[in-house]
């Protein structure tokens, strides 16, 4: 098996992944601490790639750290910053370091980040990046040349189940699967009926789906996401529930909500697992898992 994450996906168990953000700078202590703290509690951890177009330590460097510390990395790669030569080169580097799980994303516009005047690349898109991985595995590159030593991958991609409009998004989702995606981590979902109806459709495809769960840390944070993040929709009841949390206890309410959603996804067998995004609060991931009854 190419990776222990792939093994977990294929075992049929309820898979749990989480997210670790590389630092802005070369002080790796906090990232290292998060990796060590979480590596045996989840099936794999995603290393974000200049998330929201904010320049940081590279996801590849952080994925190498995870590997060195004995964890299971999922390397996130966006198409925003590298052309096809650089993307393929980084894929080869990753595979040579034992990093086989790769999540392909288009990437946010540079205009949304902290280097607004930079050039966005987008030489490939996420579905083409998945296809490129499958090609490299066959010992060929995108220029049609032979490789001396072919890599192996477990290829992933994302979907936004609450995109508006949804139909063009679903065509793209199917193209990613056709291109060879084996797993999908979704954008955050809070509305269970909507997730269920997406899964009723998605279950027909040969792909494992992990539902994205973003930890709510306060009512203003939930409102901020509703306003600013496309495809994320926190229902009013949850915003109200966050707002009614006793002072200083909002985080506990957020953990409870995340745990409750994960429990439902698990108990009702809605998805193959979950991807927990605790955005800066990685230390509470185990609390979310225990609130979900997973530990």
């Amino acid at each position: 098996m190419v990776s222990s994450f792939k093994e977990a996906l294929e075992s049929g168990k309820f898979v749990v992944t989480c997210e670790v953000a590389p630092p802005k700078g070369i002080n790796l202590e906090k990232t290292k601490h998060h990796i060590e703290f979480l590596k045996d509690k989840v099936d794999a951890m995603n290393l974000t790639d200049h998330q929201s177009s904010v320049m940081r330590y590279p996801s590849l460097g952080a994925a190498i750290m995870v590997k060195e510390l004995g964890g299971e990395p999922i390397l996130q790669m966006t198409c925003r910053d590298r052309n096809r030569l650089a993307l393929q080169a980084d894929l080869l580097c990753a595979a040579s370091k034992g990093i086989h799980n790769v999540l392909c994303l288009t990437g946010d516009s540079v205009m949304l980040g902290d280097h607004k005047e930079a050039k966005g690349v987008f030489d490939l898109d996420s579905s083409q990046l998945v296809a490129a991985m499958r090609l490299l595995e066959k010992g060929k590159d995108l220029g049609g040349n032979e490789l001396d030593g072919a890599p192996a991958f477990c290829a992933g991609a994302i979907v936004t189940p609450e995109a508006n409009p949804i139909d063009p998004q679903l065509i793209k989702f199917e193209k990613k699967i056709d291109a060879g995606a084996e797993f999908i981590q979704t954008q955050a979902v809070y509305d269970m009926p909507k997730l269920k109806s997406f899964m009723d459709y998605a279950k027909q495809f040969p792909v494992k789906i992990l539902a994205g769960i973003i930890l709510l840390t306060s009512a203003p944070m939930a409102r901020f996401m509703n306003k600013n993040i496309a495809g994320v929709n926190v229902p009013q009841e949850l915003v109200d529930e966050m707002a009614s949390a006793p002072k200083g206890r909002a985080m506990e309410t957020g953990i409870e909500i995340a745990g409750r959603m994960i429990k439902q996804i698990h108990d009702e067998n809605i998805c193959d697992g979950v991807h927990i995004m605790a955005i800066g609060k990685e230390e509470v991931v185990p609390d979310i898992m225990s609130a979900a009854g997973l530990t």
Binding site: D108, S109, G120, Q128, N164, Q169, G231
Partner: protein, 216 residues
């Protein structure tokens, strides 16, 4: 009709470009920049007044009919002396005009405008970019809507995750190209065309700078 769409440079930038320049001849254009009100006769006159008020000497000004055409002998003759007296030409046309004029008159040129895109007036006072002239046209498969131009990321396989109510993630005033393409193909019963995995784009269509030499 396809037009060159421009915008006046920020005042501070223009001031800096004209720093140390005392004698200026101003050129406007009667075509695209007149329509966008960035370099037609009224803007040229306003610029002359502004420069004079700031203590610069304006040796003269002209609004040529089409600045991207070569200057006619009549214009160079009529304004020759005023141009000669100037140390710098301030050109209130698109970059095509600036370059055409720079190639004809032996003077430093300062562009007063930024050329934003080649586009079309799609509604009164509203201009949209239509084609980036990439050299490898793919709109036969997208219902005639160009994702290379109309999608902020130039994606060719469908939308990113940033579409919000059919608008682009970078600006609610810009339509998401892939919502438009989907709707168009749906209307034509040709969504199969969107389902096809498009190969990575070919950037070798015409390597920049573009040049075409016709045979015969």
């Amino acid at each position: 009709m396809i037009r060159s769409i421009t915008q006046q440079k920020p005042e501070e930038e223009l001031e800096e470009l004209l720093n140390g320049v005392n004698r200026i001849f101003i050129v406007g254009c009667g075509t695209c920049v007149t329509m966008t009100r960035t370099g037609g006769e009224p803007e040229v006159v306003a610029m002359r007044e502004k420069l004079s008020a700031s203590g610069k000497m304006v040796t003269g000004h002209v609004t040529v009919p089409v600045a991207c055409d070569n200057l006619t002998g009549e214009i160079t003759e009529e304004y020759g002396e005023q141009i000669e007296q100037a140390d710098t030409l301030l050109i209130m046309t698109c970059a095509f005009g600036v370059q055409t004029i720079a190639g004809q008159l032996r003077k430093m040129v300062v562009p007063a405008l930024d050329t934003l895109f080649i586009g079309k007036e799609t509604a009164h006072g509203e201009f949209n970019e239509i084609c980036t002239q990439c050299g490898t046209c793919i709109i036969g498969e997208t219902g005639g809507v160009c994702p290379v131009t109309a999608c902020h990321k130039g994606l060719v396989n469908g939308p990113c995750g940033g579409t919000d109510q059919g608008r682009c993630e970078i600006d609610k005033d810009k339509a998401c190209a892939w919502t438009k393409i989907y709707n168009r193909l749906d209307e034509l019963g040709r969504l199969d065309s969107m389902r096809k995995l498009q190969k990575p784009r070919n950037y070798l269509g015409e390597p920049s700078p573009g040049k075409l030499v016709m045979n015969g």
